[in-house]
Symmetry: C2
Subunit: 368 residues, 2 copies
């Protein structure tokens, strides 16, 4: 029998409410509680500073036995960014955690905002991936909050997304497609941005402000500064309401996707073997499925054959559905990028060149 | 062989684009093309005036052989409302169609906007129901547009609705629960409000303006006047985008609801017969279902036993889910209004008093 001794005779301070909430979410997400190295992405803003401080609080009170690596990427986009990098490094040092930082020069990239946002995101995720690999960590944390989730849902809604898009961002997913390293957002499910500010202030930490967070030519900032406040005038708890909707739609999308996978397997196996290696689908099996499932089977099928769904829009799927229903409009439906779907004796076939994958498709890079 | 003669030797004018679009939707919805009496709800605003004028155009060009009844309810809420009633009656007469009108005094009702809106809606649907019954019509038309659909979706989103709510309004449904009379919205799927205005102007009809459409203390008006214009500054085709989302979520909800019905049947039949007549559910069958389907089985089950889902919130369903998962929290979950769900040897049971149905639950009255 092993006796565990209290290392100190002083009574330990209670965990702050913010840290308690984080610990609760940590357990809910079934994250490791000991012997793991965790990479925490810290920009220096209130959200990520609060995440780091709360983890630090939990670790120092020995509720979790984890090694932290504080990761910061300087995107080289703002004059202040070198100071941010220094500030994060010094916070990590003061708290006694490892730090990893790097700098890229995105200032040279396209000035078009969407491209710039995308380039910054890609650079950040690549840096986090490299850092985690180097530090032998299987877990990367980002500090996205409930407010970020609400903004994401609205941005998707503004584009007319389906359930998958409106489901928002998942709290846990692969950092890169197929990667063993997980990306976890332990604030996403519960923390309001205001709470992160309050918590930093309670800990007397003067977090950094990113002036790009105030640039309303970025759609996300405009959602934050204009759309959400207007929606709040209808419902004071709009952020929570959006997040609830996202959680429900996420469950719906998951159930329907899993049915689609079963059906794709079923419809695929019954098809003729074809020599081009592109799978074929049995039309009568598709016909028996409800529209919502059939649409997902077709998307999964095209994704398999093509490697991505870029530029595949509702109109293309509708053309394929017309083939399935045997309605007017011929026996061929064209997909963007040169592939074709043909109906032939009760079998749907995909043909045409597969796109060469030079770069990983950007649509697979996490978008938040 | 029967020879059909042209009744006139003048070439017929072509149908206007608005009327052509309406006729196309009429066919898509598989509505009757002859020998039917159709009640058209006409307030006198641009939307309903355009619907009436376009139907009139189509009938006069003999593309449809239908009898119209122009129905108008004066809600007695505005000083102008008697003039509206007179205007609608005279338009119907000029066009050569039957008219049916009535007046209620809602001015006495609660001044609280939601109650007033609800009371006006109830009075209107009751009037339409009576008119259709009296005229032996199986079809009531209202002139809701794509813009109304977008507003509905946003109002639901503001409340944090699930897919069923975000699916918006259906183009065809029962006028009242269980009724043979159908409520059809033949503009909902395609017509923008601006198009109805343009079409009325092209036909030189000076439609009426309802000043309540400008009263921003009504949430719907505030959505129309503030929220949609702001969203349009992100996406010029936001109304179409919202409508597309609604159509996709509607398909999702339908697929999941139909699975839930199958599962409810399955889980119910395997349960013990119980003498209170309230059905019981087999827990292990529920456990095997994905969350999205299980949630819908529970809602359908409670709806069956209770007659409605009023005040049944996510929190109540979560409590029942905990019973199912056998997690902490005892073996009983309370529902609002006095009913209870109990888990007993692998069976979920509902007990407690059924609510007496004095009035039909307002939640079943169409909300648009």
């Amino acid at each position: 029998m092993k006796i565990v001794q209290n290392r100190s005779h002083r009574p330990k301070p209670r965990l702050s409410r913010f840290a308690r909430n984080l610990l609760e979410e940590w357990r809910r997400l079934d994250l490791p509680t000991s012997e793991a190295t965790i990479v925490v992405a810290v920009s220096g803003g209130a959200d990520s500073a609060a995440l780091l401080l709360a983890l630090d609080e939990i670790i120092k009170q020995e509720k979790l036995r984890l090694k932290l690596v504080v990761a910061h990427l300087d995107h080289g986009l703002r004059t202040e960014s070198r100071k941010d990098a220094k500030w994060v490094k010094s916070l990590a040092k003061d708290l006694g955690h490892d730090a990893a930082s790097s700098r890229v020069e995105l200032g040279q990239t396209s000035k078009r905002k969407p491209n710039l946002e995308q380039a910054a995101r890609n650079a950040r995720y690549e840096f986090l991936f490299k850092t985690a690999t180097r530090k032998k960590s299987k877990l990367v944390l980002t500090a996205h909050t409930l407010d970020d989730q609400a903004e994401t849902i609205l941005l998707r809604l503004l584009r007319g997304s389906a359930a998958e898009g409106l489901a928002g961002t998942a709290s846990v997913r692969e950092l890169m497609p197929g990667s063993e390293i997980k990306l976890v957002r332990p604030l996403l499910g519960w923390a309001r941005r205001d709470e992160t500010v309050d918590y930093c202030q309670a800990r007397s930490i003067e977090f950094r402000n990113d002036e790009m967070n105030n640039d309303e030519t970025f759609s996300r900032v405009k959602v934050r500064k204009q759309l959400l406040p207007l929606m709040k005038s209808f419902n004071n708890r709009i952020v929570e309401a959006l997040s609830r909707t996202a959680a429900l739609l996420s469950e719906d999308a998951e159930a329907l996707a899993s049915q689609a996978r079963v059906l794709l397997d079923l419809a695929g196996r019954k098809g003729d073997k074809n020599e081009t290696e592109l799978p074929s689908l049995n039309v009568s099996i598709l016909l028996a499925a409800p529209g919502a499932v059939r649409r997902r089977v077709l998307r999964q099928w095209i994704l398999q054959a093509r490697g991505d769904l870029r530029r595949v829009e509702r109109v293309h799927l509708l053309a394929v559905e017309k083939l399935i229903e045997g309605a007017t409009g011929g026996r061929v439906a064209e997909l963007p990028g040169g592939m074709k779907v043909t109906r032939n004796r009760g079998i749907l076939e995909l043909s045409g060149k597969k796109r060469l994958k030079k770069n990983p498709p950007t649509s697979k890079i996490p978008t938040l």
